[in-house]
Symmetry: C2
Subunit: 425 residues, 2 copies
Amino acid sequence: MKVYETVYNYYLNLMKAGDLKAGSKMPSLRECEKVLNVSRTSVENGYLQLAADGYIYSVEKVGFFVTELAGRVGKQEEKKSTEKTINKYKFDLAIIGEDRQVSCLNLWRRYMKSALRQEDRLLSYSDYQGEKDLRKEIANYVRKRRNIICSEDDIVVGAGFQNLLQVLIALIPGEKTISFPTKDFFDGATTFRNAGFNVSYRNKESHVIYVTPSYMTKWGEVMTMQRRRELCDHALNNNHLIIEDDYQNEFVFSSKPTPSLYALTGGVNTAFLGSFSRVVLPSVRISFIILPKGVKEEYDKIKRAYNQTASKSEQIALAQFLRDGHLNRHIKKMRRLYEEKRSVMEQAINANLSGKGEMLIGESGMEIAIRMKDKSTFDKIIKQPVSVGILDNSHENSTILLSCSKIEIDKIDEAVTLLLGSKSK
Amino acid sequence: MKVYETVYNYYLNLMKAGDLKAGSKMPSLRECEKVLNVSRTSVENGYLQLAADGYIYSVEKVGFFVTELAGRVGKQEEKKSTEKTINKYKFDLAIIGEDRQVSCLNLWRRYMKSALRQEDRLLSYSDYQGEKDLRKEIANYVRKRRNIICSEDDIVVGAGFQNLLQVLIALIPGEKTISFPTKDFFDGATTFRNAGFNVSYRNKESHVIYVTPSYMTKWGEVMTMQRRRELCDHALNNNHLIIEDDYQNEFVFSSKPTPSLYALTGGVNTAFLGSFSRVVLPSVRISFIILPKGVKEEYDKIKRAYNQTASKSEQIALAQFLRDGHLNRHIKKMRRLYEEKRSVMEQAINANLSGKGEMLIGESGMEIAIRMKDKSTFDKIIKQPVSVGILDNSHENSTILLSCSKIEIDKIDEAVTLLLGSKSK
């Protein structure tokens, strides 16, 4: 996607969500530059495209304003997300949510109830670093799954990555430059930018390199072993810091091993980020960071300046849930289902694609992208009553993203056929 | 307390907690300067005092190291906090925790169970800003209790203040200077310092002024109406931003009104911070900020860069808990008990103090301070088997802090008598 399209999509999404309402003023070019960290030219081009498409209009010497059209886009989306979904879309291949068939909500409820009986713990405040029993279980978990040898003292628990990155930032000396894989990492980039970092993308010269080895693109490309080794060597030789965000590792379906960078470096110059939201429940916000080797003592000195954010009762429940082996069983169950769904979707796309575009498929996750052969095919397809993700809507490179994560398995074929619509019956 | 004593106490507490272990290296003078934001002289004096008391020793050209003595202090404290409490201390007037007599844990459990039944909501991610039903209830709550007129769109929910302050920082332009009441606000000061702010204390010239009007000192001094008006005028006239941390407002026992600064300014140049940890359960980490008037639209533009941290199930439970009026009833019950306990403690101190020092008592909270008449009296008293807080252990100004929040009401008199030990029986 071109940079100006990032600008375009960012504000169009805000309009759709109703956060930028008809009549309200758009941020100044300068603000936009700052928020999205893009060049003035890209901002101008993005705004011009929004204006060309009728979403904003310009008032001389004042700025840009959101039009009524944008307001209607927002309203349509609002309806879509509530009761009218069925009318507009017959199938949803856009939402990256959880399939109820493998939800562990019932089991989770039991563990929460048990946690809520721990009166002593609930009547006191949380540990700064996270509950100790949970950290012990996480250390076991990463030892088994990711070959990481660490103690509970190396682990910091928090609600989401942003708080954990704050702590990490306070512990890493050196040049304030960071590289992210793409502009999609808004939240992480914001955290670093607010801390005075210069943010760039896919830049090996940055002092800090943020990577998602198990999910390098939206269609699940996985970092090769060779690239992993090169990256580790590069970081060690240049004293760079790798932040390894292990997102989607549980759903890597390749047969090749995907060793963690943390294990490859022995934790030197590497921090490891993991989360339980994807594998337990989306509403359970418990993440953790494994600190790079050698900063634990520094962390002990500053930890009281960073309050714990994760819910204590959920931490207690998760520790017990891990101890009883439920997470490993649950992940196995999920993997089995998602692998099957993915393969059903792949077959359905293959059967229907016939020259309309090229399928992009990696080895992880529940998403497959289709780069359309031209814009008119793209335009036709997104008018079908099947909700899909849009990765790129440019003329040269229009690409959609299909997710099988939420849709029931026995509807995938029908949905894909309706979307791509060429199967002869 | 003198600044070097802040340094002294900070590191002594780390040793006691076992975070700085025997044999480990102390932070360099420069690191300490940075962490605590104090002058080099204060750091040096603090370290010298730690060395004089045998907690650290210096190795020429290398730095300071923690001694075995410090290790033992840590171990003693560790024992104290676990099973040996009863042996060492007969009573605990140090812990600021919750009295089980008024705990709402049973009720809270019911609401959590109900929240855990909301399958749809638990299988999806949280709202960036916080659950909408909760924000509506918070808007009702602050209207009734703090005279604040705002909509749910002005409210951002989060797990603790640090995340909420991050959001606020991204929304406030102008000079990056902030003033805190005292050095006790480590976490808040760290958040601002990491964002490039210059932190000072009780400095009216700062662009941002952080205040806790209902709990200005550890012994519960409450900001007078006159001071409130002056502060609001000052902020409006100079275009400063007030951050009003409403801590302990529920436990202001004075008969005088304590209007919120947010209400006094109509929300202009004022942000309001509230938390439910103190009034629901210590383990429930749900806080909120009411944004200053006029920044809501800006917030809508940036909100996707700041992830929600508060537990979704706890947010759902709290919304229902508020809607059913439980919090107001619960606060009433707590106020009644704590007011009585406070008065029992005040009487007990009065009956036993007889020239040993001066009682410092404000109008809020569950704490009373005693400024001892001299250091030898202080030393004798802290050797009693009653755990107390130490506000200041300097020769000139030794002060202890007694809290009646956790101890049962019928033990307060015995504990204070044992501590101050002069009642003739």
